[in-house]
Symmetry: C2
Subunit: 197 residues, 2 copies
Protein backbone atom coordinates (compact mmCIF):
# COMPACT_ATOMS: atom_id res chain seq x y z
CA UNK A 1 0.00 0.00 0.00
CA UNK A 2 1.55 3.31 -0.99
CA UNK A 3 2.07 5.88 1.74
CA UNK A 4 -0.28 8.83 1.69
CA UNK A 5 1.13 12.34 1.57
CA UNK A 6 -0.04 12.81 5.14
CA UNK A 7 1.79 9.71 6.38
CA UNK A 8 4.94 10.87 4.61
CA UNK A 9 4.66 14.29 6.18
CA UNK A 10 4.25 12.65 9.58
CA UNK A 11 7.41 10.56 9.08
CA UNK A 12 9.34 13.66 8.04
CA UNK A 13 8.26 15.52 11.15
CA UNK A 14 9.22 12.61 13.37
CA UNK A 15 12.63 12.28 11.72
CA UNK A 16 13.32 15.97 12.09
CA UNK A 17 12.32 15.89 15.77
CA UNK A 18 14.47 12.80 16.33
CA UNK A 19 17.52 14.49 14.77
CA UNK A 20 16.91 17.61 16.87
CA UNK A 21 16.74 15.55 20.08
CA UNK A 22 20.10 13.95 19.26
CA UNK A 23 21.53 17.36 18.33
CA UNK A 24 20.42 18.77 21.69
CA UNK A 25 22.53 16.22 23.54
CA UNK A 26 25.53 16.77 21.25
CA UNK A 27 25.48 20.57 21.33
CA UNK A 28 24.90 20.60 25.09
CA UNK A 29 28.08 18.52 25.41
CA UNK A 30 30.33 19.94 22.68
CA UNK A 31 28.94 23.41 22.12
CA UNK A 32 29.41 24.96 18.71
CA UNK A 33 32.38 22.67 18.07
CA UNK A 34 29.85 19.90 17.26
CA UNK A 35 29.47 18.93 13.58
CA UNK A 36 26.56 17.65 11.48
CA UNK A 37 28.37 14.29 11.41
CA UNK A 38 28.40 14.16 15.24
CA UNK A 39 24.67 14.77 15.17
CA UNK A 40 24.02 12.11 12.52
CA UNK A 41 26.03 9.53 14.49
CA UNK A 42 24.24 10.38 17.75
CA UNK A 43 20.85 10.13 15.97
CA UNK A 44 21.84 6.88 14.24
CA UNK A 45 20.99 8.29 10.79
CA UNK A 46 23.09 8.81 7.67
CA UNK A 47 25.02 11.99 7.03
CA UNK A 48 22.81 12.53 3.95
CA UNK A 49 19.55 12.24 5.86
CA UNK A 50 20.68 14.82 8.43
CA UNK A 51 21.45 17.23 5.57
CA UNK A 52 17.98 16.69 4.08
CA UNK A 53 16.52 18.40 7.13
CA UNK A 54 19.20 20.97 7.93
CA UNK A 55 21.44 22.91 5.54
CA UNK A 56 24.32 23.06 8.06
CA UNK A 57 25.11 22.87 11.76
CA UNK A 58 24.23 26.52 12.23
CA UNK A 59 20.67 25.73 11.08
CA UNK A 60 20.45 22.89 13.61
CA UNK A 61 21.81 25.07 16.39
CA UNK A 62 19.41 27.88 15.56
CA UNK A 63 16.40 25.50 15.52
CA UNK A 64 17.46 24.11 18.91
CA UNK A 65 17.87 27.52 20.51
CA UNK A 66 14.45 28.67 19.27
CA UNK A 67 12.90 25.45 20.59
CA UNK A 68 14.63 25.94 23.97
CA UNK A 69 13.16 29.43 24.31
CA UNK A 70 9.57 28.25 23.85
CA UNK A 71 8.79 26.70 27.26
CA UNK A 72 10.18 29.51 29.46
CA UNK A 73 8.44 32.04 27.25
CA UNK A 74 5.07 30.24 27.65
CA UNK A 75 5.55 30.00 31.45
CA UNK A 76 6.23 33.68 31.62
CA UNK A 77 3.12 34.53 29.63
CA UNK A 78 1.01 32.20 31.75
CA UNK A 79 2.01 33.82 35.03
CA UNK A 80 0.33 37.06 33.97
CA UNK A 81 -2.91 35.30 33.00
CA UNK A 82 -3.27 33.23 36.17
CA UNK A 83 -5.35 34.16 39.21
CA UNK A 84 -3.86 34.52 42.70
CA UNK A 85 -1.81 36.93 44.77
CA UNK A 86 1.65 38.08 43.63
CA UNK A 87 3.21 35.66 46.14
CA UNK A 88 1.22 32.74 44.74
CA UNK A 89 2.11 33.55 41.16
CA UNK A 90 5.75 34.01 42.08
CA UNK A 91 5.74 30.63 43.77
CA UNK A 92 4.30 29.03 40.65
CA UNK A 93 6.81 30.70 38.33
CA UNK A 94 9.80 29.94 40.50
CA UNK A 95 8.80 26.30 40.89
CA UNK A 96 8.35 25.94 37.12
CA UNK A 97 11.71 27.66 36.63
CA UNK A 98 13.53 25.26 38.99
CA UNK A 99 11.70 22.12 37.83
CA UNK A 100 12.49 22.86 34.17
CA UNK A 101 16.18 22.46 35.02
CA UNK A 102 15.80 18.78 35.80
CA UNK A 103 16.33 18.40 32.05
CA UNK A 104 19.29 20.70 31.59
CA UNK A 105 20.19 20.27 27.90
CA UNK A 106 18.08 23.18 26.63
CA UNK A 107 19.53 25.52 29.25
CA UNK A 108 23.10 24.43 28.61
CA UNK A 109 22.51 25.44 25.00
CA UNK A 110 21.17 28.84 25.95
CA UNK A 111 24.18 29.34 28.23
CA UNK A 112 26.47 28.52 25.34
CA UNK A 113 24.83 31.14 23.16
CA UNK A 114 25.60 33.76 25.81
CA UNK A 115 29.15 32.69 26.58
CA UNK A 116 30.38 31.59 23.13
CA UNK A 117 32.21 34.10 20.99
CA UNK A 118 31.07 32.36 17.81
CA UNK A 119 27.30 32.20 18.37
CA UNK A 120 25.37 34.32 15.82
CA UNK A 121 24.39 37.77 17.09
CA UNK A 122 20.75 37.18 16.17
CA UNK A 123 20.52 34.19 18.54
CA UNK A 124 22.45 35.97 21.27
CA UNK A 125 19.95 38.82 21.10
CA UNK A 126 16.99 36.42 21.31
CA UNK A 127 18.41 34.69 24.39
CA UNK A 128 19.36 37.95 26.05
CA UNK A 129 15.95 39.43 25.40
CA UNK A 130 14.21 36.47 26.96
CA UNK A 131 16.47 36.50 29.98
CA UNK A 132 15.76 40.21 30.45
CA UNK A 133 12.01 39.64 30.08
CA UNK A 134 12.14 36.93 32.70
CA UNK A 135 14.15 39.17 35.02
CA UNK A 136 11.58 41.95 34.60
CA UNK A 137 8.70 39.58 35.28
CA UNK A 138 10.38 38.24 38.42
CA UNK A 139 11.27 41.73 39.57
CA UNK A 140 7.73 43.01 39.16
CA UNK A 141 6.24 40.03 41.03
CA UNK A 142 8.79 40.53 43.82
CA UNK A 143 7.92 44.23 44.18
CA UNK A 144 4.19 43.41 44.20
CA UNK A 145 4.83 40.58 46.67
CA UNK A 146 6.74 42.95 48.95
CA UNK A 147 3.71 45.27 48.93
CA UNK A 148 1.46 42.40 50.06
CA UNK A 149 4.10 41.27 52.62
CA UNK A 150 4.38 37.87 50.93
CA UNK A 151 8.00 38.50 49.94
CA UNK A 152 10.94 39.44 52.19
CA UNK A 153 11.93 43.13 52.19
CA UNK A 154 15.17 44.11 50.47
CA UNK A 155 16.62 45.27 47.17
CA UNK A 156 14.52 43.54 44.48
CA UNK A 157 17.41 43.59 42.00
CA UNK A 158 19.60 41.64 44.42
CA UNK A 159 16.79 39.14 44.95
CA UNK A 160 16.34 38.67 41.19
CA UNK A 161 20.07 38.19 40.80
CA UNK A 162 20.19 35.65 43.63
CA UNK A 163 17.36 33.61 42.12
CA UNK A 164 18.88 33.65 38.67
CA UNK A 165 22.24 32.63 40.11
CA UNK A 166 20.71 29.65 41.90
CA UNK A 167 18.78 28.41 38.92
CA UNK A 168 21.60 28.94 36.43
CA UNK A 169 24.00 27.30 38.83
CA UNK A 170 21.88 24.14 38.91
CA UNK A 171 22.69 23.43 35.27
CA UNK A 172 26.43 23.86 35.90
CA UNK A 173 26.30 20.58 37.79
CA UNK A 174 25.22 18.97 34.52
CA UNK A 175 28.48 20.16 32.94
CA UNK A 176 30.75 19.12 35.82
CA UNK A 177 29.14 15.84 36.73
CA UNK A 178 26.50 14.76 34.20
CA UNK A 179 26.10 11.22 35.58
CA UNK A 180 24.96 12.37 39.00
CA UNK A 181 22.88 15.31 37.86
CA UNK A 182 19.47 13.96 38.83
CA UNK A 183 20.72 12.66 42.18
CA UNK A 184 20.11 15.18 44.97
CA UNK A 185 18.44 17.64 42.58
CA UNK A 186 17.05 20.21 45.03
CA UNK A 187 13.35 20.55 45.68
CA UNK A 188 11.97 23.87 44.41
CA UNK A 189 10.77 24.71 47.94
CA UNK A 190 14.38 25.18 49.04
CA UNK A 191 14.74 28.08 46.60
CA UNK A 192 11.39 29.59 47.58
CA UNK A 193 12.97 30.31 50.97
CA UNK A 194 15.15 32.95 49.31
CA UNK A 195 12.05 35.16 49.12
CA UNK A 196 10.38 34.20 52.38
CA UNK A 197 9.58 37.12 54.70
Amino acid sequence: MPRTAEAKQHIREEQRAHILEAAKRIFARKGLAATVDDVAIEAGVSHGLAYRYFANKEAIFSALVKQALQAPSADQQRVWDMPGTPGERLKWLLSAFVESRRHPEAFLLLGQVLSSQTAPDELRELVRKQSQDLQSTLRQLIVEGQETFEVVAGDPDQLVRAIFACVDGLTRWAVYDPEHYQEHFPDANIFLRLLQP
Copy 2:
Protein backbone atom coordinates in the same frame (compact mmCIF):
# COMPACT_ATOMS: atom_id res chain seq x y z
CA MET B 1 74.17 51.77 43.30
CA PRO B 2 74.01 48.09 42.27
CA ARG B 3 70.93 46.16 43.18
CA THR B 4 71.30 43.67 45.97
CA ALA B 5 70.35 40.04 45.39
CA GLU B 6 67.42 40.58 47.70
CA ALA B 7 66.13 43.54 45.72
CA LYS B 8 66.45 41.57 42.48
CA GLN B 9 64.56 38.68 43.99
CA HIS B 10 61.84 41.09 45.09
CA ILE B 11 61.52 42.50 41.57
CA ARG B 12 61.31 39.01 40.12
CA GLU B 13 58.50 38.06 42.51
CA GLU B 14 56.60 41.22 41.69
CA GLN B 15 56.96 40.67 37.96
CA ARG B 16 55.79 37.09 38.25
CA ALA B 17 52.77 38.15 40.31
CA HIS B 18 51.97 40.92 37.83
CA ILE B 19 52.06 38.48 34.90
CA LEU B 20 49.85 36.05 36.82
CA GLU B 21 47.29 38.79 37.54
CA ALA B 22 47.10 39.62 33.83
CA ALA B 23 46.91 35.92 32.98
CA LYS B 24 43.99 35.46 35.37
CA ARG B 25 41.93 38.02 33.45
CA ILE B 26 42.88 36.52 30.09
CA PHE B 27 42.24 32.88 31.00
CA ALA B 28 38.98 33.79 32.73
CA ARG B 29 37.87 35.36 29.45
CA LYS B 30 39.37 33.05 26.81
CA GLY B 31 39.85 29.79 28.67
CA LEU B 32 42.57 27.47 27.49
CA ALA B 33 42.45 29.09 24.05
CA ALA B 34 44.53 31.95 25.52
CA THR B 35 48.21 32.12 24.48
CA VAL B 36 51.38 33.33 26.23
CA ASP B 37 51.31 36.27 23.80
CA ASP B 38 47.81 37.25 24.94
CA VAL B 39 49.12 37.21 28.51
CA ALA B 40 52.21 39.27 27.66
CA ILE B 41 50.08 41.90 25.87
CA GLU B 42 47.59 42.08 28.76
CA ALA B 43 50.47 42.44 31.25
CA GLY B 44 52.23 45.01 29.07
CA VAL B 45 55.48 43.02 29.07
CA SER B 46 57.52 41.50 26.27
CA HIS B 47 56.92 37.99 24.98
CA GLY B 48 60.47 37.11 26.15
CA LEU B 49 59.92 38.33 29.69
CA ALA B 50 56.75 36.24 30.05
CA TYR B 51 58.72 33.18 28.94
CA ARG B 52 61.40 33.90 31.55
CA TYR B 53 58.85 33.16 34.25
CA PHE B 54 56.75 30.45 32.61
CA ALA B 55 57.84 27.72 30.20
CA ASN B 56 54.49 27.70 28.37
CA LYS B 57 50.82 28.59 28.78
CA GLU B 58 50.13 25.31 30.54
CA ALA B 59 52.58 26.36 33.28
CA ILE B 60 50.78 29.69 33.67
CA PHE B 61 47.39 28.02 33.78
CA SER B 62 48.57 25.50 36.34
CA ALA B 63 50.06 28.24 38.59
CA LEU B 64 46.77 30.17 38.39
CA VAL B 65 44.63 27.19 39.27
CA LYS B 66 46.78 26.33 42.28
CA GLN B 67 46.64 29.95 43.41
CA ALA B 68 42.85 29.99 43.01
CA LEU B 69 42.51 26.93 45.24
CA GLN B 70 44.40 28.51 48.16
CA ALA B 71 41.80 30.90 49.61
CA PRO B 72 38.83 28.48 49.65
CA SER B 73 41.08 25.83 51.13
CA ALA B 74 42.20 28.16 53.95
CA ASP B 75 38.56 29.17 54.66
CA GLN B 76 37.60 25.55 54.94
CA GLN B 77 40.39 24.79 57.34
CA ARG B 78 39.56 27.83 59.43
CA VAL B 79 35.93 26.84 59.92
CA TRP B 80 37.00 23.75 61.86
CA ASP B 81 39.31 25.72 64.13
CA MET B 82 36.88 28.47 65.02
CA PRO B 83 34.66 28.58 68.09
CA GLY B 84 30.86 28.78 67.93
CA THR B 85 27.82 26.62 67.23
CA PRO B 86 27.49 24.70 63.94
CA GLY B 87 25.00 27.33 62.76
CA GLU B 88 27.42 30.15 63.49
CA ARG B 89 30.29 28.44 61.73
CA LEU B 90 28.08 27.63 58.77
CA LYS B 91 27.05 31.27 58.56
CA TRP B 92 30.69 32.34 58.53
CA LEU B 93 31.69 29.83 55.84
CA LEU B 94 28.71 30.57 53.63
CA SER B 95 29.28 34.31 53.87
CA ALA B 96 32.96 33.90 52.99
CA PHE B 97 31.95 31.61 50.12
CA VAL B 98 29.49 34.17 48.66
CA GLU B 99 31.70 37.20 49.28
CA SER B 100 34.68 35.57 47.55
CA ARG B 101 32.66 35.56 44.34
CA ARG B 102 32.63 39.33 44.10
CA HIS B 103 35.97 38.80 42.34
CA PRO B 104 34.97 36.01 39.99
CA GLU B 105 38.12 35.44 37.88
CA ALA B 106 39.59 32.70 40.06
CA PHE B 107 36.29 30.80 40.09
CA LEU B 108 35.78 31.17 36.35
CA LEU B 109 39.15 29.49 35.96
CA LEU B 110 38.22 26.63 38.25
CA GLY B 111 34.97 26.19 36.32
CA GLN B 112 36.94 25.98 33.10
CA VAL B 113 39.13 23.24 34.50
CA LEU B 114 36.01 21.18 35.22
CA SER B 115 34.20 21.83 31.96
CA SER B 116 37.09 21.92 29.49
CA GLN B 117 38.02 18.74 27.67
CA THR B 118 41.63 19.87 27.31
CA ALA B 119 42.49 20.73 30.93
CA PRO B 120 45.21 18.43 32.37
CA ASP B 121 43.84 15.54 34.44
CA GLU B 122 46.09 16.47 37.37
CA LEU B 123 44.45 19.91 37.67
CA ARG B 124 40.96 18.52 37.15
CA GLU B 125 41.57 16.12 40.05
CA LEU B 126 42.81 18.93 42.32
CA VAL B 127 39.74 21.07 41.59
CA ARG B 128 37.36 18.14 41.97
CA LYS B 129 38.94 17.11 45.23
CA GLN B 130 38.61 20.58 46.67
CA SER B 131 35.01 20.87 45.56
CA GLN B 132 34.25 17.53 47.20
CA ASP B 133 36.02 18.56 50.41
CA LEU B 134 33.98 21.75 50.52
CA GLN B 135 30.78 19.79 49.92
CA SER B 136 31.66 17.43 52.77
CA THR B 137 32.44 20.31 55.11
CA LEU B 138 29.16 22.04 54.26
CA ARG B 139 27.22 18.80 54.60
CA GLN B 140 28.66 18.03 58.01
CA LEU B 141 27.94 21.52 59.32
CA ILE B 142 24.38 21.28 57.94
CA VAL B 143 23.78 17.94 59.67
CA GLU B 144 25.21 19.29 62.96
CA GLY B 145 23.15 22.47 62.51
CA GLN B 146 19.99 20.40 62.01
CA GLU B 147 20.72 18.64 65.32
CA THR B 148 20.94 21.99 67.11
CA PHE B 149 17.82 23.24 65.22
CA GLU B 150 19.81 26.09 63.68
CA VAL B 151 19.34 24.71 60.16
CA VAL B 152 16.08 23.85 58.40
CA ALA B 153 15.16 20.15 58.30
CA GLY B 154 15.44 18.31 54.99
CA ASP B 155 17.77 16.24 52.85
CA PRO B 156 21.28 17.64 53.54
CA ASP B 157 22.52 16.59 50.10
CA GLN B 158 19.82 18.66 48.43
CA LEU B 159 20.72 21.62 50.63
CA VAL B 160 24.41 21.31 49.75
CA ARG B 161 23.53 21.11 46.07
CA ALA B 162 21.25 24.15 46.31
CA ILE B 163 23.96 26.24 47.98
CA PHE B 164 26.60 25.20 45.49
CA ALA B 165 24.24 25.97 42.63
CA CYS B 166 23.59 29.48 43.93
CA VAL B 167 27.21 30.32 44.50
CA ASP B 168 28.42 28.82 41.23
CA GLY B 169 25.61 30.56 39.41
CA LEU B 170 26.77 33.93 40.68
CA THR B 171 29.95 33.68 38.63
CA ARG B 172 27.97 32.84 35.48
CA TRP B 173 26.80 36.43 35.47
CA ALA B 174 30.44 37.42 35.05
CA VAL B 175 30.53 35.42 31.81
CA TYR B 176 27.23 36.70 30.43
CA ASP B 177 27.47 40.31 31.47
CA PRO B 178 30.92 41.20 32.86
CA GLU B 179 30.34 44.97 32.85
CA HIS B 180 27.43 44.79 35.27
CA TYR B 181 28.78 42.03 37.47
CA GLN B 182 29.29 44.08 40.64
CA GLU B 183 25.96 45.87 40.25
CA HIS B 184 23.22 44.16 42.27
CA PHE B 185 25.64 41.53 43.58
CA PRO B 186 23.47 39.82 46.23
CA ASP B 187 24.12 40.20 49.92
CA ALA B 188 25.29 36.93 51.53
CA ASN B 189 22.33 37.09 53.94
CA ILE B 190 19.97 36.32 51.06
CA PHE B 191 21.63 32.94 50.59
CA LEU B 192 21.70 32.22 54.32
CA ARG B 193 17.89 32.04 54.12
CA LEU B 194 18.24 28.80 52.15
CA LEU B 195 19.17 27.11 55.43
CA GLN B 196 16.91 29.01 57.80
CA PRO B 197 14.61 26.83 59.91
